[in-house]
Subunit: 258 residues, 2 copies
């Protein structure tokens, strides 16, 4: 087992990744970050050294957990070392940005939404992996399986598709929550009233495919209710309501007739 | 305590409402439904009589739990009786459709998504109430508080706003899940991978207001990732992606600058 890992980045993802790696029994040699204060804070918490310079880092596994836009720059700055494995953790960045410099390259992508102040337990988070060669894949798989119960091999294109699907199910879904809250606020209603519905909607999709769960005025083609809602809202909310209603009708047209 | 309730309707909502009312200690006198077989099935399960005719029903409380579009017709057909309270359970229908015939009218609206085969425990489901007069309100409140821990008084307009917000947080959210699944299917990826993200996205909104949780390429204005996603999808998915991205940018423009 490789016992020698360094992490570059000290943001949202790194804040959850570092404790998970430590808990899995690995020794983290260095943490490095553009923002040296974040690196110092994170390193101190787990008794890890801070690398002043990327050239210092000679660990067997280097995990680039920076912002997506910095991955290529960081990878290019790392020394080219045949004994090293260089990984990144991003959903939408191809493995190619690492391979051009490092022959042993790979991906360790935990599919979850990370915020700095709320540690995420990786055990039940899917980790998607990819590698530039079989030997590297074996090592990454070993590491990933110590972090998570769900390890899946995906190509860079599949990972991008998964990332795009995650934008729908997280980012766009959260816009739906936000818009719901905006409508309630303007009628002086507490958002708490929607909590059980939001949880039930999410939980239903764990047991049934989402296309089985579609309900509401759009799929019923209930023009009376649709009209009543539309008279209540305006501006972007109305534009959203109209298009989302149209999209539901289009998507479920065949099902609806069945 | 009034111990004499009848239910008109035997669909998704009634299937969860009837056992909740029985469990709360009420006697249900009659169940009636356009589809007599559904009424017979539901009535048999809880040892209740089936009303052949709406005119038979003389219970002190009559709950119309039919499709939204049938509420007014059913209400009109019920005998006008000063001692009776007539309620409906719909989010988007005004109390006025009942008041025109019944002086003691009201609403008992449980905010949840109901399906016939999955009973919903109403205890933790918000029930929104409204009444045509104070005396009726008192009775409805008593009943509602025996069914649920969260009873809220809302006007018909507020209830419509809540229903509209529920369309965003349930119907439109489920379209996001469905689209995510469609993207995964076309790349041969298991939807299970998204389950933890979907649950975390929902749970996050219980502790933080949704506008605090917005992440992703749209709010970051990460045009590289947006372009990569857009190259992966087409048709309605692409139209959705572009507009939802625009809407996030618009909605969070000021926050983003902050």
């Amino acid at each position: 087992m490789l016992n020698n890992i360094s992490i570059i980045g000290a943001g949202n993802l790194a804040s959850s990744l570092v404790p998970a790696i430590v808990q899995a029994g690995f020794q983290i040699e260095f943490i490095a970050s553009k923002s040296s204060q974040s690196a110092i804070d994170l390193a101190r918490k787990y008794n890890i050294s801070v690398a002043k310079n990327l050239n210092e880092i000679k660990s067997k596994i280097i995990i680039i957990a920076t912002n997506d836009s910095s991955i290529e720059t960081v990878s290019d700055k790392l020394q080219n070392n045949q004994a090293q494995i260089v990984l990144h953790t991003a959903g939408s960045i191809s493995i190619d940005v690492l391979i051009k410099k490092h022959s042993n390259a790979g991906i360790l992508y935990p599919l979850q939404t990370f915020t700095k102040n709320k540690l995420v337990d990786l055990t039940n988070i899917p980790i998607c992996i990819e590698a530039s060669n079989e030997k590297t894949l074996k090592v990454i798989k070993e590491v990933a399986q110590l972090l998570s119960n769900t390890v899946t091999e995906l190509s860079s294109e599949q990972r991008l598709a998964l990332h795009c699907a995650a934008v729908f199910t997280n980012n766009f879904t959260n816009l739906m929550y936000t818009t719901g809250n905006d409508i309630l606020k303007s009628h002086n209603i507490d958002f708490n009233l929607l909590h059980p519905l939001i949880i039930e909607t999410a939980q239903k999709v764990i047991s049934n495919a989402p296309e089985q769960n579609q309900t509401g005025p759009a799929i019923r083609d209930d023009s009376k209710t649709i009209t009543a809602h539309k008279q209540l809202i305006g501006g972007q909310q109305l534009e959203m309501y109209e298009l989302l209603t149209k999209w539901i009708k289009n998507r479920f047209r065949d099902m609806d007739k069945a």
